[in-house]
Each structure stands twice: as C-alpha cells, then as structure tokens.
C-alpha cells in the first residue's frame, strides 16, 4: 500500500505539469488579452499598450507560463490578479470557503436522500413509489439549476409581497446586520440563508445520484450470488443491505474522488442567481477579463484536489471492496 501511494504521488507531478500547461495553452489561444478591454479608453488611449508592457503580456506565452510555474513551485505563489493587482490567494480563498459551506452540506444531503431513494426504487421496481420517484428524478435532471433557483427566488418574493415577512431570504449568505448579531444569531442567520441554495443544489444533483444507485442496485440484484443468498433463506433486508447494497455502493464511492474538487469549485449559476458569494462569479468574471493568473490559480487548485481526491477514492475502494489489493 505504501509503495502504491508513493508511486501515485510521483505520478501526480507530470500529470500536474501537463494539466497546468494545457490549461495555460487553452487560455492563451483565446483571442485578445487582459489589456484588450482598455482599447476603448477615451481618456487614456495608450492605456492598453502600457498595461501590456507593465504586465509583460508582450512576452511569448510559454515564457510567461514558465515564470508562473517557477513562482508556484519555488514560492507557492499563485500570482497577482491583473484586475485587483493583489495576491490571487487572498482573492480566491474566502470564496472557495464560501462555496465549500454550501456544497458540503448539499453533497451530504444528496447522498443521504439519493442513496435510499435509489435502493427503494430498485427494490420496489415499477411500483407506484418507484414511478413517482422516477418522474421526480427526470424533472430534477431536466430542469437547469439556475431556473430552479429563479423559481425559488420568485417564491421568496411572492411570499414576502403576500405576507410582509420573509420565509426564506432572497439570496445572499448573511443578513445586512450580520456583524451586529451574537454568535448564536449569526449561526442561525447563516443557516436561514443556506436553506434556499441548499434546496436548489440538492434537488439538482439528487436525480443523478439516485438514478445511478438504482441502476447499480438493479444490476447487483440480478447477480447469481444474490440469488444464492436468497436461496439460503437469508432475510430480504440482509440480502438487500448486506450483500447487494455493499456491492452497489462501490460505484458511488468511486465518484468520491471527483467530489473533492467539486466541493470548492462552486455551485455554478446558483451562486449568481442566489447571490451566494462563492467562487463561480469570480471564476467567470476572471475568464471574461482574461485575468489569467486568477483562472490558472483556480484550475491549479482544482487539479490538485482532483488528483488527491482520486487517490483517496482508490484507497477508499480498497477498504470497501475486498477484491481490490494494492
């Protein structure tokens, strides 16, 4: 096991270099650069050219990539944002933490709800309950989460306009008087603001996980050893949860590697519509502004998390699947 881990860690180095190089390359092949947006400056017509010179954007991109990589490797320096002129880490860290506080409970909640739904649908295949849940899942898959977020927002507005008080807030992570609240009130305030985006993110991802779980359970339930277990006279619960479930859930565990970067990569358009101060809006605005160091910082962190997540996922699989040995 130790040798396996060391080997995997060493493999991460070329993977990481290749991933960052490709990311940089893709960013560079987009037309224009950060300075292009200043081409229309009426007061300072030379601004774009001056910025290009000061930021070294006139240099070939491979050279700039090597400078960036050197600073990253030698100083753990992710660079300086071209927009804010400040440290990139300072900019992205709190936003990643905000995304994490939305996505962690959403992920946990998704698994807590989706796995039992998947198992139920598989065990009671084609029952009314299964059909209802299937329709529910398909709706969840079909409705984009930004639209779901808009519906929730519209409900929050409608409720306020009808009753004069807020059942759920119209977005945001904290109330405007947050800093004046006591610690306990701050916790409650955050929880209250979490309800709507948590609902949207969970509903959106519920469908996929529950359908995967249902499919895996159905496949496992058709295996010979399940029939053998039933023939031995084991109870339905033991067959389902001890034999079938343990094997079916392996697929879900295999996806945990991909979840780790997912916890900090932002909740996408939900963060826009529900004003959740996560990483997505910064990521998108940085792409539009061609703030290459912010974009690269995010991609680098996500690449690292993905690689670490995959490693952990492999190790977790070995724990639950006795057939896997390293």
């Amino acid at each position: 096991m130790f040798v396996f881990i060391v080997r995997r860690v060493l493999n991460l180095i070329p993977t990481f270099l290749l991933a960052t190089f490709l990311a940089w390359f893709v960013i560079e092949i987009a037309p224009g650069d950060f300075a292009s947006q200043f081409a229309f400056d009426q007061v300072d017509p030379n601004k774009a050219q001056r910025i290009r010179e000061v930021l070294g954007l006139n240099q070939p991109w491979p050279i700039r990539y090597l400078y960036w990589l050197r600073n990253l490797v030698t100083n753990f320096d992710l660079g300086t944002s071209m927009v804010s002129k400040g440290d990139v880490t300072t900019l992205i860290y709190p936003r990643m933490v905000n995304s994490f506080w939305l996505l962690l409970p959403a992920t946990v909640l998704t698994f807590l709800i989706a796995i039992p739904i998947g198992v139920y649908s598989a065990v009671r295949k084609y029952s009314i309950g299964d059909r209802v849940l299937t329709v529910f899942s398909l709706i969840g898959l079909a409705v984009p989460n930004f639209f779901l977020a808009l519906l929730v927002l519209a409900f929050a507005v409608y409720f306020y306009q009808s009753n004069g008080w807020f059942l759920i807030p119209t977005g945001g992570m904290t109330s405007s008087n947050y800093s004046q609240l006591s610690l306990w009130q701050q916790v409650l305030d955050r929880g209250w603001h979490l309800i709507a985006p948590l609902l949207v993110v969970t509903l959106s991802s519920l469908a996929t996980t529950s359908r995967i779980m249902r499919g895996e359970m159905l496949e496992v339930m058709g295996q010979d050893y399940i029939r053998t277990a039933k023939a031995k006279g084991l109870s339905e619960n033991v067959v389902t949860y001890k034999h079938a479930f343990r094997n079916a859930v392996v697929v879900i565990i295999a996806t945990i590697g991909g979840l780790l970067p997912g916890l900090i990569s932002g909740a996408g358009t939900v963060e826009f519509v529900m004003r959740w101060p996560g990483i997505t809006p910064l990521f998108i605005s940085s792409i539009f502004a061609q703030d290459v160091y912010v974009v690269m910082a995010l991609l680098t962190v996500l690449t690292l998390f993905l690689m670490i997540g995959n490693l952990l996922s492999d190790l977790a699989l070995a724990l639950v699947d006795p057939r896997i040995r390293y």
């Binding site: 400040g86 900019l91 905000n98």
Partner: protein, 600 residues
C-alpha cells in the same frame, strides 16, 4: 511676559481661524434625508479597497466617498463643471487657486485643519503623494493618466506645508479637474512606497485588510467589508468637523450606507421589490412592470420614473473606408451612399422593435443626456426610403438585379454589405435585423452578422498604428453597430475617435488617404481639446456635429431610455433627472437648497 502671553493668545486665535469648518456655498443645503441607513445593490463585486487601484465604476462610486478630497468639486445639477462660467472654480479642499498660466500652471493653497480619519492633518504632501504613486506606471493605477498629458508628466512641486504648484506641459481644458490626482494619506502610503515601491502599494488595502487598518479622508469610512456580499460605510466623524452644510449644521446623508453586491439582475430586482434596496436603474420592460406591480401592491413605497430621457450612450453604424474590396470601399466612402442608407432606416421602428418603445431616435453620436453637447440645432433624421433609392440611383446604383438588389450597371457593384454587432448584444442584434428587413424592401441587402467581442473590438481599434492600405485592416469588416459611453462630459471632444486615424476612429485608419471633411473634423476636434471657454467649445461641438451630419462618418440610430426608481423622499426631484445627473445623493456638492422646495 504680558507681550508673550498676548502673542500666544494671538497665535491661538489665528489657529482657531484656520480650523474653521468649511461650509458649502449658500446654494447648497441639507436635503430632507438625514440619518438612517440607505441600501443599494451594485452589479459586480469589489476586488480591492485600495483607492489607487480601484478599477470598476462600482468600486469608483463607493470607494471615492471614502477617499481624500479633490481640490475642486463638480456641480451635480448645475453646469456639470468644476469651473463656473465666469472662470472661477467650485473650491473644495483648495482654499485658493492662482492660475499662473491658464489651464497650465497653478499655485494651489489648500485649506488648513482638514484631517484624515486617524486625526493627521491633510497637507500638500498628500497631493504630491497621490501624484507620485498614481503616476508610477508599475503601480498600475487606473488613474495613471491624471499625471500625464499624453506622455509628458504633470509636475507637482511643494512650496510649503499647504501650498504647491501644478505645472502641465501644455494647456488642457478643465486642467484642474482632469489632472488633479486627488490625495492619499502620505503618512500611510509614502513609507510603504519608499520601502517597497510599487509592489508595496499594490499589496496595500486588499480585500482582506480590516477596515480598522485603513485611513479615510471622505465623508464616509468603510466599517465592514465581506467579499462577494457587501460593503458598509459609516459617517467619518473627522470629516464632519471640517465640512458642514451652509447653515453650519452637520452635512446631510445617512449614518450608514449598505452596498450589496449582486452578479445577477434578477437577484437585484428581487431585493428591490421586497424593499431591501432604495434605488435602482431598470432597463427593461419586465423590470419596470415588476417594480410597478410591487408599488401597486404596497410592497414598496418609492417613486418610479420611467422614460425620463435618453441614456448617455447612442448605438450607431460606421462603415469601413479601408475595405479591400474596391466596390464596397468606393460605396462606403461615398457620403451620398451613407446619407441614402441613413434616410432608409426607420428609427422609430428600431425603438419599438429593439427596445420595446423604451428608447429615443438619435440625431447625433451624443444623446441629449450630454447636454449642452447634444447639437440641439440638428433636426431628427427623416425616414424616406423612396428618397434613399433615388439617392442611390444618383450615384450609379440604378437598376435592380435578378435577386432584386440594386446594382451599378457599369461596374456591376451591388448595394450589399454585412452589418456586424458584438455577440450577446440582443439590442444590436435586433437593430441589425430590423435594418436588414426594412432595407430589403428597397433593394438594399444588409446581412446581420454576430461576431465575437474580440473580432468586434479589432474591427474598431485594430490597425491603429502603421496602417497599410494594401494589407487593409486587422478585420476587413463592412459595417458595424457600436456605441460609446463615458468620456469627458465637460468636453466630449472624443479626440481618439474623431481625429484622423486614431484608435477609436472605426471608419478610416489612414492618415494619408482622407476626405477634406475628415481633415476639418480633425481640426475642430483638436480645437475642442484646448478651448477653455465653454461657449466656444459648444460652438465647436455644434459646428462639428453639422459636419458629421452632412458626411455621416457615424450614422446615429437610437438611445435606450433612462429609468429610475428610488425610495429616498425628495432627494431627486423629477425636473432635474437625466442620465448624467444621478451620481450619489450624498456626495458633497450634490445638495441644492431648492431641492426640498421644488420636490414633488
């Protein structure tokens, strides 16, 4: 001893005299709004709190309320200039300004007793610190150009603690307004700059810096900042000690200002219609309807002013005079062709079709929001497509081809061109489609083309230097819809757009091959840049507008309408509202005595 005590007493009296608070001129007085909290939603987010580095309009609007004072201030509702018509300035931090050479050399004496929020007095050192730091290109300040006229530096020299000299390399209109780099707390910024240079300045006052570590010079201080969520400003008590309202009472304004960040217009609207923010600029019919419904249902209680007038930006068409294809190049360069196309465009239909009636036909590249620079003498454009067909016939496009498109029987050239617009701009897409459909009935084929922002930008600014007619432009486009916002409202000379071959001159990049009217336009623009007298600048503007109307290098289309909602009582009376008048109700200088009297 007695003489010594008297001397001390006299000095104390002089010092007390110096410390008298500055009072706004008689015309300015407190409005009805005093105290409380005002909430506003801004689209976007802040990436820095450093006044040297702020870049977006949103950051500028909020952080500037906390930054140190300027020498002069701009009227909000008056002549919109730092300078009055008699040539005198609206003094702010400046006690006196001696104009040694008009619009070029000034000796400025600043007021004594003005203090930063940490109690340190503001002096000439603070102005010189701002010029030094902002003017360093490595700092990468967006205000960099305040320290230069073209590439030549504006020189600041300290004369004594409260006096300094500003010397421009040559006269510039509104010099003190556009070349005043403002103030920075020298006691905070200069030690960092001297020790760590530009890098040290860039590392200052980032989004993770506690507001308690910052120093403020404006009417407000940052009291809370949460990344991606909000910034909260509270009154700067130190400011209130040296600036008061005309009657000696404290300056008006809320005790607290909560600015919430949003990245989505629906999110902003949802907060507004639930009474969580106090003002808003709707842009669509749906937004106006949602606000109207909220008012009617009693959910919110403010005032909605729809269709107040045109916004500051005009959509217009330019043609590529440097087109490689000779047929099109000759066509685009012919003023009769441009006049013909213009008269065949139904601008009322554009307003109805592209912006749902919430707009105004344009008659100049500036809208009426830029008054007095809005060419009031120009008549609205006519819509007479039959006349347009006659005009096209007069320049050779006299017969319709088998496809119905007008063509020149001698040359075979057809009246067809691509009309491009930037991707994602639905309004311009609609404009292009309506123009295409209207002109198709009269034998003119216009092909709407959606292009990426990069191609669209390069079509305008590409090939700004070293134009080679044989190689053509960076993008060999036909015609393009675009527009401009911002610029200098005191003098919209548009130097880098209307002069020969400049970067924003989208029609002709050549500095050798141009028509006589282009040269005249260049000369008039150059004259506007340096003309100090407002009336003469307006005359120059109007003369140039007539020239532009005759030759149409820019074919104006429409302006979107300007709407405004607020729930702040009598701060903004209807008769004073237009797109350029609304900045901040609480910025010093934004108070006029008759506001409360005339409010309705």
């Amino acid at each position: 001893m007695k003489r010594f005590i008297l001397g001390i007493a006299a000095l104390a009296l002089v010092a007390a005299g110096f410390a008298q608070p500055y009072q706004w001129p008689e015309a300015y007085a407190p409005t009805a709004v005093q105290g409380g909290t005002v909430s506003e939603d801004l689209f976007g987010d802040f990436t820095t709190l450093n006044p040297v580095l702020i870049s977006s309009a949103q950051e500028n609007a909020v952080i500037s309320m906390t930054a140190g004072p300027g020498l002069v201030y701009r009227d909000w509702l008056g002549n919109r200039s730092f300078q009055r018509e008699d040539g005198s300035y609206n003094m702010y931090w400046a006690e006196s300004i001696e104009e040694v050479r008009p619009n070029q050399e000034f000796v400025v004496t600043v007021r004594q007793g003005w203090k930063w929020s940490d109690g340190v007095e503001m002096t000439a050192d603070d102005a010189i610190a701002a010029r030094t730091i902002i003017g360093d290109p490595d700092v990468q300040s967006n205000s960099y150009s305040c320290g230069y006229v073209d590439a030549d530096p504006v020189v600041y020299e300290k004369i004594d603690t409260y006096t300094y000299r500003i010397t421009l390399p040559r006269p510039v209109t509104n010099a003190l307004a556009v070349k005043d780099c403002g103030t920075l707390p020298a006691h905070v910024f200069m030690p960092v700059y001297e020790q760590s240079g530009a890098e040290g300045i860039r590392a200052m006052w980032g989004v993770d810096t506690p507001p308690s570590e910052m120093v403020f010079g404006g009417p407000y201080m940052i009291s809370e900042f949460r990344q991606g969520e909000r910034i909260v400003l509270t009154k700067n008590p130190m400011y209130g000690e040296f600036v008061q309202a005309a009657d000696g009472s404290p300056l008006p304004g809320p005790d607290q200002w909560v600015v919430t960040f949003s990245q989505d217009q629906n999110a902003i609207l949802s907060r507004l219609v639930t009474g969580q923010s106090d003002f808003y600029w709707p842009t669509t019919v749906d937004q106006l309807r949602a606000i109207t419904d909220a008012i009617n249902s009693g959910a919110i209680g403010g005032q909605l002013h729809a269709n107040l007038g045109p916004s500051g930006s005009v959509d217009f068409i330019t043609y590529n005079f440097n087109k490689l294809d000779q047929c099109k190049r000759d066509m685009f360069r012919n003023p009769v062709f441009r006049q013909a196309i213009s008269i065949m465009i139904d601008r009322d239909a554009l307003v109805q079709g592209a912006v749902g009636g919430l707009g105004f036909p344009a008659k100049d590249w500036n809208s009426e929001a830029a008054a007095p620079f809005d060419a009031p003498h120009l008549e609205p454009f006519e819509f007479d497509p039959e006349r347009g067909v006659e005009m096209l016939a007069s320049i050779g496009f006299s017969e319709a081809g088998p496809d119905g498109v007008l063509r020149n029987p001698q040359t075979g050239c057809r009246v067809e061109f691509d009309l491009q617009f930037n991707s994602g701009n639905n309004r311009r897409a609609q404009l292009a489609v309506i123009i295409s459909q209207t002109l198709a009935d009269y034998g003119v084929q216009v092909n709407p083309r959606e292009v990426s922002s990069e191609i669209w930008t390069d079509s305008i600014v590409g090939t700004a230097e070293g134009f080679d007619p044989a190689a053509g432009r960076a993008v060999d486009y036909d015609a393009q819809i675009w527009g401009l916002a911002g610029g200098d409202i005191d003098n919209p000379h548009f130097q880098n757009g209307l002069m020969l071959g400049t970067n924003l001159n989208a029609w002709n990049k050549s500095r050798d091959d141009f028509a006589s009217w282009e040269l005249l336009m260049d000369r008039l623009t150059a004259a506007m840049v340096t003309e100090v007298d407002l009336e003469k600048r307006i005359e120059l503007y109007n003369e140039r507008a007539t020239l532009m109307r005759d030759n149409l290098p820019i074919t104006p289309l429409i302006s979107t309408a300007f709407h405004f909602y607020h729930d702040l009582g009598n701060v903004w009376p209807l008769e004073f509202l237009d797109a350029n008048s609304i900045e901040s109700p609480y910025r010093p200088g934004n108070f006029r005595e008759n506001l409360t009297i005339n409010a309705n």
